[in-house]
């Protein structure tokens, strides 16, 4: 094992320039920079609050998410009516529900709170799967290049050539029917139990997971391709750094910015995939709420009861803002060259 050359205090920083005069670690430097970014801090705070709300939904929500009071269906409080005065001729008022009740008399607010569970899970697991598989795959392919790259990229090409939504629909139909009547004790039984315990989410994850990573792999490869030609990589190689070290220490920090941005960009995609699946009726199992299913339910009645679409959409939009600002901040922090200083 050759002695790895420490580059931290070397004049060859991640960008081929000194990255820090104090010699602090990349990580601590990043955290410090992230903390200075107000938008990112606000975004991060919102996400932390959302996570807490989702975790303690049964404490925060005024009603259980599935409790229906049929006679209270579509009722809404006065302030919502003032907000959407078009509902005046037919709106039935009730102050029991903070932002109104849905089509079978379930509290919308409670459902939004519980819906955060599904939507946040989708927002985290989706990117996690695609980052994990995609970045590993893409960087190996891009770094080593040549035949391996060619082979790996052709595999991606095949998977990439599938329309992902259709692929998910096909996969969902396949999984749900294959795992519909399992015998207890088998693998399929465990899978089916896990799926129904998660309200039908498990197979949605698998579907998304199997289709989402290729984009990340391609993007990573593209980035690695352009970075590996750079002088500082040559330099590191000349200094005897091993492939693994070059990859993790020198290449990844330089490509991670666009990847994080792409992933935060993709989060709305995952959430809207879930919404789309709900729209065509193969999303989460009822009565499990998700923002996607609530928005698609609400969109049906958008002319009659706009509050049923607007509030879940608002919840979604706020989450998007939070993820995006945090994503921007992360990128700025992870890539020291991107500090906003102009």
């Amino acid at each position: 094992m050759t002695q790895p050359v420490s580059l931290e205090n070397n004049e060859f920083g991640a960008g081929g320039r000194p990255i820090s005069v104090k010699g602090e670690s990349l990580f601590r430097d990043s955290v410090r920079r992230l903390a200075r970014n107000k938008a990112a801090v606000v975004g991060g705070t919102i996400i932390v609050i959302l996570i807490l709300v989702a975790l303690f939904a049964n404490v925060v929500a005024p009603y259980p998410y599935a409790e229906q009071t049929l006679v209270d269906q579509n009722k809404l409080p006065q302030w919502v009516l003032s907000l959407f005065p078009t509902m005046k001729p037919y709106a039935q008022l009730s102050s029991d529900y903070f932002i109104g009740a849905d089509y079978v008399g379930r509290d919308l607010f409670s459902r939004i709170i519980f819906g955060a569970r599904v939507s946040l899970t989708v927002a985290f697991i989706g990117p996690l799967i695609s980052l994990l598989i995609g970045v590993t795959y893409g960087s190996i392919s891009g770094y080593f290049g040549g035949r391996l790259d060619n082979l790996m990229m052709r595999v991606v090409d095949v998977l990439y050539a599938f329309p992902s939504l259709l692929f998910i629909i096909l996969l969902l139909a396949f999984f749900r029917s294959t795992f519909a009547h399992p015998t207890p004790g088998t693998f399929t039984y465990t899978m089916s139990q896990l799926d129904s315990a998660s309200g039908g989410l498990l197979f949605i994850f698998i579907g998304i997971g199997l289709t989402a990573w290729e984009t990340m792999a391609r993007l990573t490869r593209g980035q690695v391709l352009s970075v590996r030609e750079k002088e500082f990589i040559e330099a590191a190689r000349t200094l005897g750094a091993k492939d693994g070290r070059i990859m993790f220490r020198h290449i990844l920090p330089n490509v991670v910015g666009p990847l994080v941005v792409a992933e935060t960009l993709a989060i709305p995609g995952y959430i809207s995939t879930e919404a789309f699946l709900s729209f065509i009726g193969i999303g989460v199992n009822p009565p499990t709420p998700s923002w996607g299913s609530m928005i698609s339910d609400g969109a049906q009645v958008i002319r009659t009861y706009p509050n049923q679409a607007v509030f879940p959409a608002l919840a979604l939009a706020i989450t998007m803002f939070a993820f995006n600002f945090l994503g921007d901040g992360l990128r700025d922090a992870l890539d020291p060259r991107l500090r906003g200083n102009q």
Binding site: A161, L166, I169, S177, S226, V261, P268, I302, L316, L338
Partner: protein, 353 residues
């Protein structure tokens, strides 16, 4: 470069074959058949139907004959009559009166007895291509400038405003935006027709509308904006991120240090390189827009392909599933090839060897 392209095209063929194989296998392993109805049909009726569509043959035979129909050119010795929807080739080339080369028969559709999959390609695909192209243009027109402004004015009010617009665009799904637009512009203000599409077959070159006047645009405006807005947000954020990174590259510093005008630095050096990731995404984005029109089409009553992508799966319309997925695959691999060529063009440091 030439050899590279030829090799890529050969790869493409392999990719398409593999895609067709996976799709064929997957769709036949999903339970339920095309003729399962609420009113269950007697076995004899099902048998007649399966015989008609050759579903009574072993799967491997069905697959091979599908490959033969789609990929292998056929020869006919008289003018094709087109009486049978199962005998409809997308490409019929007349060599002489008694010699015709026919290629790409995607088969009949189970959901319509007088139409073949090729008919759907001829009549519905052009609409989706028009809608998808318009949406992409709108996405580029809105997205790229928004991203550039945000990047150049990083951390100013313009940046935050621009990005807020972008995030808004991506977080309001068409499911909500579509009905809202119809309600406001179609029903209340009556500026635009709520639903419909302004062109119908026959199309110029097989896909261009015959009229491009207001009668076309009044139908196209709302759906293409609704469809393009989400993509414009993605383009805006990608452009911004990429430009921010490029601006800080050494060669930009060098250019600046050399005293090149800021405007020229940005336009001459930074923009070109910052567009690489943007270009990467355009191919799939275009394909996604053309095929991802299901909700937009349903909301705005547009006679495009989008619904076939979804309903073919729920209806187990095997030839349509195969046809649409193969079509998408061809579209994507071609787009990807173009992207890769563009890569080399935009960034000469990337070599093809």
């Amino acid at each position: 470069m030439g050899r590279y392209i030829i090799r890529r095209i050969l790869y493409m063929l392999v990719v398409i074959l593999v895609v067709s194989f996976i799709t064929f296998g997957l769709m036949h392993s999903v339970p339920g058949g095309p003729f399962d109805k609420e009113k269950s049909l007697p076995a004899e009726i099902i048998a007649n139907l399966e015989k008609r569509y050759h579903l009574d043959q072993p799967l491997w035979k069905q697959y091979l004959s599908y490959l033969n129909d789609v990929f292998v050119p056929h020869i006919a010795h008289e003018k094709p009559k087109g009486l049978d929807v199962a005998d409809d080739y997308l490409i019929d080339i007349k060599i002489t009166d008694t010699f015709w080369i026919r290629w790409m028969n995607f088969g009949p559709t189970f959901s319509s007895r007088s139409r073949s999959v090729n008919d759907i390609f001829r009549q519905q695909l052009p609409v989706s291509v028009q809608l998808g192209t318009l949406a992409l243009i709108i996405a580029i027109i809105i997205g790229v400038p928004l991203g550039i402004i945000s990047a150049l004015k990083q951390n100013t009010i313009y940046d935050y405003l621009g990005m807020s617009i972008a995030i808004f665009g991506v977080s309001v799904p068409v499911i909500v935006l579509g009905p809202l637009m119809i309600w406001i512009f179609g029903v209340t203000l009556k500026w635009l027709p709520p639903t419909g599409w302004g062109s119908k077959p026959p199309y110029i070159f097989g896909f261009l509308p015959t009229n491009l006047g207001w009668d076309y645009w009044k139908y196209a405006l709302m759906p293409s904006v609704a469809l393009g807005l989400g993509s414009s947000a993605i383009l805006a954020r990608l452009t911004r991120a990429s430009l921010l990174q490029v601006i800080r590259e050494d060669y930009i510093r060098t250019a600046r240090a050399k005293g090149v005008k800021e405007r020229n630095v940005i336009v001459g050096h930074a923009l070109k390189n910052s567009l690489i990731p943007v270009v990467t995404i355009l191919g799939p984005m275009m394909a996604g827009l053309v095929t991802g029109t299901f909700v937009t089409e349903l909301t705005f009553g547009i006679p495009g392909m989008g619904k076939y992508f979804v309903t073919s799966i729920t209806n187990r319309d095997y030839p349509v599933i195969m046809g649409t997925i193969l079509l998408y695959a061809v579209f994507l691999v071609v787009a990807n090839l173009l992207v890769d060529i563009m890569y080399a063009y935009l960034d000469p440091r990337i070599r093809y060897d």
